[in-house]
């Protein structure tokens, strides 16, 4: 079976010391190892941002794509070869600013991919601008007087878009995050895992300490992920108490099951022989 070492790459890790991305990387590797997946069975798709370097640091198949476009690429990889486990990694800018439309559509399609958002509440790689998850009043180089836009609530958005698996993790708790990732990877359908990821440089407000004082585990308070109304109530909690864990889970046929050609197995493995054009040409005669 795959080991943590096999999942490493020779690329030098250039995240800042203490960055929450390290924890996410570790949790993802552990989840792969613990689920017994082979490296070549997994594909990582990354957007642009500090998080985007994930594909350089984890030795599975990878494609580092455009800013905000992780979901369509991941969707098609899954449709093209549904034997693969497809993980999408995005930043909060990536996922919830430029790319938020894809979230709504991918969720309602229930594409069987896992979407891990490195949510540091800021644009990090571009050296500190406001993000759609930045809190009101958050000062950045693009909002020197503080942000005046109500933050996006990713969990609420995912609920409104009928995502079939919604969870929030915290980079300060790798074990818990690993558990969430494993659950998401076991889920047959679209999964959003929004991860609270402290950024040491551009977000001096939402730090490890800040989160540690606030996060609590949904599973420890008896939250039932099957309860949609309860999920809505928990989704809006943000302040003194911030829930992490599985917010919502429901079974629904994944998107790929609707496509007749996929019944014969993964597309990419079907022989590329030409379809018989004769009946189609006859229709036109």
């Amino acid at each position: 079976m795959t080991t943590m070492e096999e999942l490493s790459t020779p690329a030098k890790i250039t995240w800042c010391p203490g960055c929450g991305n390290f924890a996410i990387l570790t949790a993802v590797k552990r989840a792969i190892v613990e689920l017994g997946l082979r490296r070549e069975e997994v594909v990582a798709v990354t957007g642009i941002g500090c998080h985007g370097r994930m594909t350089n640091y984890i030795n599975v198949n990878g494609i580092h794509v455009l800013h905000g476009r992780v979901l369509p690429v991941a969707t098609a990889i899954k449709l093209a070869n549904h034997g693969l486990t497809v993980l999408g990694f995005a930043g909060d800018g990536d996922a919830y600013s430029i790319g938020i439309g894809h979230l709504s559509h991918t969720a309602r399609r229930n594409v069987d991919i896992k979407y891990i958002v490195h949510n540091n509440l800021v644009y990090a790689l571009t050296t500190g601008q406001t993000s759609p998850t930045s809190e009101l009043g958050f000062r950045t180089r693009s909002t020197p007087r503080g942000s005046y836009e109500q933050p996006i609530n990713p969990l609420l958005h995912a609920l409104a878009s009928r995502a079939s698996f919604i969870a929030r993790g915290f980079a300060g708790d790798v074990r818990h995050l690993t558990m969430l990732l494993k659950e998401a990877m076991r889920h047959r359908g679209f999964a959003l895992i929004d991860v609270l990821q402290p950024c040491m440089v551009w977000n001096r407000v939402n730090t490890y300490e800040w989160y540690r004082e606030r996060v609590y585990k949904l599973e420890e308070e008896g939250h039932d992920p099957g309860d949609l109304e309860g999920a809505y109530r928990k989704a809006v909690e943000w302040g003194d108490r911030i829930p992490i864990g599985i917010l919502y889970r429901v079974e629904r046929p994944p998107y790929r099951e609707h496509f007749p050609p996929l019944r014969e197995g993964p597309l990419a493995l079907q022989p590329l022989e030409k379809a018989d054009l004769t009946p189609l040409l006859e229709e036109l005669s």
Partner: protein, 583 residues
Amino acid sequence: MVCIGLRDDTVSFLIGGEAGQGIMRSGFLLGRALMRGGLHIFGANDYPSLIRGGHNFYILRASETEVHSQGDGVDLLIALDDETVRLHIHEVYGGGAVIYDEESRLKPEDLRGGVRACPTPLTGVVEEMGGPRVVRNTVALGVALSLVGFDLEPMRGVIRDAFRGRERIIEMNLRAVERGYEYAEDNFEALEVRVEPSRSPKARIMVTGNEAVALGAIGAGCRFYAAYPMTPATPILHYLAAHDEEAGMVVLQAESEIAAINMVVGAAYAGVRAMTATSGGGFCLMTEALGLAAMTETPLVLVLNQRPGPSTGMATYTSQGDLLFTLHASQGEFPRVVVAPGDVDECFYLTMEAFNLAERYQVPVIILADKYLAESHKSTSPFDPSRVAVDRGDLLTEWPGEEEYRRYRLTESGISPRILPGVGGATMLANTNEHDEYGYATTEPEMVKAMMDKRFRKLEALRGEIEGLNPVRVYGEEEAEVSIVGWGSTKGPALEALKLLRRGGIEARFIQPVYLEPFPRGAMERLLSGDEPKLLVEMNKTAQLGSLIGLHIGYVFKHRLLRYDGRPVNPGEIYEAVKEVLG
């Protein structure tokens, strides 16, 4: 078989009416009936971007020999409303006829001297039959067939096929076409125009450019199609969605063009042949991921059906205004292929080639068409997919596992073997950032330069390959007194113009670059080196092919026929322009 028109050996029909009245369907039925009777046909529609209310028309032209475009006038006008007469009466040749509803408010002075009036109780017949209003069209088709002496049998078969499974509708239309036919026999003299079916018609298909591209994709083994609706590319989506099972293709409507092309990149990365199609506005949104495909060296086939811009422009009209945009779209520099089919056969075979080129060279291939080609019908021989063998290039489905796989190996050809993700013993890293051989991001200057050089090295073999694909096609006389140069859908009108010129005693030829990037420099230089005057024909304002030719071989056109009102060029226009060139 007989086909005698008022002007020549072609017969043209124009069917016009309000949007929503089934004009195109009627044109299509008539065309198909004539084709099944052994004739060659060409049919083009003209409609505004409205579901109801605007004026629509369909021109159908038929002949014993191949027809490449509409002509300059029509033999028979089928007017389903008065507006049609007002707008098109001047296009009817002397000796032609106008079929219209007896109930209309047309007065004899609305018609034209020398044009026969054929008022028919279209509404009356339909009301008597208790059918929906749209069946008027079928009555009129019956009249038209009778006037030109064409047997009803092929039309009966066409009606049965077109409405298969809906027996009542078939019944209704069969009766309608017969009633029209009989009415005309009883009330109108036959025209001089004659069209008679052949006894042993050849097997042909009547197909649009869009259908031909879709079939080419199916024939090439394309297994993934994602698109966002945009006129005039939407029919490809409709066709493939309706045939996804036969094609073994995943077909889906994405939430936007951005999603569609990124999906195509994803599917192709995963090892599946994949395609998308759009028009200008959608292509704008796709330019970013076009670059992603180029940088990750993911094969991609993109169909761009041009319509007039700038911006939304005119959704349902035609143009060749996007050539230079297509050649330079997306930031940075990378090799790409741009191929512009000129008729339905080229749509099919060049689409098949497109997939081979995309995979062998791991570059984006853009098929550049336009509304006129995409939506016009043409009869042709059934396509033969075996004429283009599938060649996926350097695609490894196994990895020996001795050394580590390098997605971007610096090879001599510039082509780095691909693997399918999922292949045991290897993982593959594709990267939108500049990268090293393994795909890891780099900014190291030597590697950056090496990667850019590697990608451009592919152009060398690609150029050679394209030379072998007959990149510039030439029609007409070897020793021409004049050359017409054009691309894409101007081919049809140009070929028709060649016929007119031949009849007028002028030896002319048509030069059609089909591959526009890599530019077929050698062939074009050779073909443009003669002394004969040359006329450039394009459907745009700034003569974009002219610029491209100027850029590559320094040839500057003195004579240009540029049309940019959204309408296709007419053969007669070209003929006149050639005469003027010849002085």
